[in-house]
Amino acid sequence: MKLFEFEAKEIIKNYGFEIPQSILIKKGDDIEKKIRESKMEPPFAVKAQVLVAGRGKSGGIKIVKTVEDAVKTAQTLFETPIKGIKPSFILIEKAIPHDKELYVGIVIDRSLRKPVVLASKFGGVDIEEIARNNPESIIRYPIDTFIGLRNYEARIIGKSIGVTGKALGSFEKFLTTLYKAFIEYDAELAESNPLAYLQDKVIPLDLRITIDDNSLFRHEDYAKTEEERLGENTEYEIKAHELDLAFVELDGDIGVLGNGAGLTMTTMDLIYEYGGKPANFLDMGGGAEAEHVKTCVKFLLDYPKAKKIFINMFGGITRADEVAKGVVMALNESSNKKPIVIRLTGTNEEQGKEILKQAGIEAFNDPIEAVKVVVGK
């Protein structure tokens, strides 16, 4: 779960790290009054609070020199979709004049199985872009899981991206604070980009924290707000999320349902290999029962991008008869009709095929044969 910039900054602030003065504007707020009351003086950075990447490039951040401009800009931003999404919040922040912009992020290194600090003196652009243009500038510093990030390590990292003098102490405090947030909020990613590097301190101009979804039971306040963060997903991804389905929207026209993530991806790949285009990823999971299969199939029947449906099911723990039952239930309950091709094999295969046969569906044994039929070649 991605946190909004203002939420991430709030965390850092509560840990005692100074961030730029700001006010948060909701739609309908009296913006001018709020600015006046805050006693902030321009210039301001007016920033749309959206979760998609590339906000700056998409025009979501404006620097303004007067209160009047701030009000106007905020009103405009509320109505300006960024990658399709209109913001619900605008952050008006004291603009910080600065010369240098750093990149600092913490992620998990899968092969080391450790958190790793990424830092570069070339902040202000995506880490991918830094990796392309200045790969040698990126410091990778792994952190011991049990000891955590020590202050001296933060200083070493700061020094290695050119931070010196008084600002190094501020960098040390910032990075150890960011690491604390990374750990305490079960983050997959905690990142400041850009991190402004001033004479005597560093200031996070942007700040991003992504909480591991699996840990949300430890972060109940955020778990409650999960729905309002789905903005960056498509309409059907949001619907799938509400139904608790593992669904990803794709650009093709063949609806895909498989059991198990690997098999479902492979089914997509097979369709592509044989000249078709998958319309989605949808994994019914392991050990699915009829009711859940029904939900999945009905979802694909309702999903307009899917012109046909391909169900690829290998029965192991999942039983073929349960899947067949679920399919038939879905077809009976839904008014949408679409061509369906089913490959069914493994545990209780015979019973499953019989159930489908009675509903007029001939299931395939061989996935390749089945794929060829669904792509129509």
Binding site: I108, R113, N214, V248, G260, A261, L270, G346
Partner: protein, 293 residues
């Protein structure tokens, strides 16, 4: 012989009284796996499928000192604690079936287990099976048969599919290890491969990877740099997966431009590893490899 699990494997089932734990205990027993004890806090004294249940792993180990392996079915919230308990009780292999464990928990218990010389398989994995000897996992037993091919896989169902295809083609398996679909897991491809390298039964190896992370790239690098004396064939799922989206598995996501299908295939092929276009090509490719073609 196979690797990691065999006829000397004596299993403790953590979370044995739950639905999944109880169900798979039955299936493991049916397969001939030596399940010696179960653990569920507060349920000590019960029996599940005639397997005695204890409150703690240390009690179970005290009564069954030959236990050497744990399989974990406890809910995600309590799974990390279950791993620590097994490691501290002196078991040597911990198989974590549980899905949706917070990644920071996995980081910690995997590092802890490593520091104590304990192997972890998973989390979010189907376990490991050495056909004809021992099944410590949730895979359907009937798709496997003993033989010369090792399989290491990030995916569950796909592994069954591949194994079944081999079995139908008359090619058996030495050991099949589902290493897990999470971003952070215990044994990875390279580590499992070191076991396969030393195993006499294994004559060829299939790697079933998927997009996300760099486990396959590292396997390729290891083969390239250190060499591997047995033929390796790979399949990678997710060729058509988009960037930035999780494909079911928490680990199956292309992030910051890395973990793409293209990268993986290039690295594997440049290390001399054949990559199958579909899993159904694997029996032919393995059969050729076994014949030295």
């Amino acid at each position: 012989m196979g690797i990691l699990v065999d006829k000397n494997t004596k299993v403790i089932v953590q979370g044995i009284t739950g639905n999944e734990g109880s169900f798979h205990t039955k299936l493991m027993l049916d397969y001939g796996t030596k399940v010696v004890a179960g653990v569920t806090p507060g349920k000590g004294g019960m029996k599940v499928h005639n397997v005695p249940v204890y409150d703690t792993v240390s009690e179970a180990v005290k009564e069954h000192p030959d236990a050497n392996t744990s399989i974990i079915f406890v809910p995600a919230k309590f799974a990390a604690d279950a791993v620590y308990e097994s490691v501290d009780a002196g078991l040597k292999l911990v198989v974590v079936i549980t899905e949706h464990i917070p990644v920071h928990d996995s980081l910690e218990f995997i590092n802890y287990a490593k520091s104590k010389g304990v192997n972890v398989i998973g989390p979010n994995c189907p376990g490991a099976i050495t056909p004809g000897e021992s099944k410590v996992g949730i895979m359907p037993a009937n798709v496997f048969m003993p033989g010369p091919v090792g399989i290491a896989s990030r995916s569950g169902t796909l592994t069954y599919e591949v194994s079944y295809a081999l079995t139908r083609a008359g090619i058996g398996q030495s050991t099949v290890v589902g290493i897990g679909g999470d971003p952070v897991i215990g044994l990875t491809f390279t580590e499992v491969m070191e076991y396969y390298e030393k195993d006499n039964q294994t004559k060829a190896l299939i790697i079933v990877g998927e997009i996300g992370g760099d486990a396959e790239e590292r396997a390729a690098k290891m083969v390239e740099e250190k060499g591997f004396t047995k033929p390796v064939i790979a399949f990678i799922a997710g060729r058509t997966a988009p960037e930035g989206k999780r494909m079911g598995h928490a680990g199956a996501i292309i992030m910051l431009g890395s973990g793409t299908y293209k990268d993986k295939v290039e690295k594997l092929e440049s290390a001399g590893i054949k990559v199958a276009k579909t899993p159904f090509e694997l029996p032919k490719l393995v059969s050729d490899a076994l014949k030295g073609k």
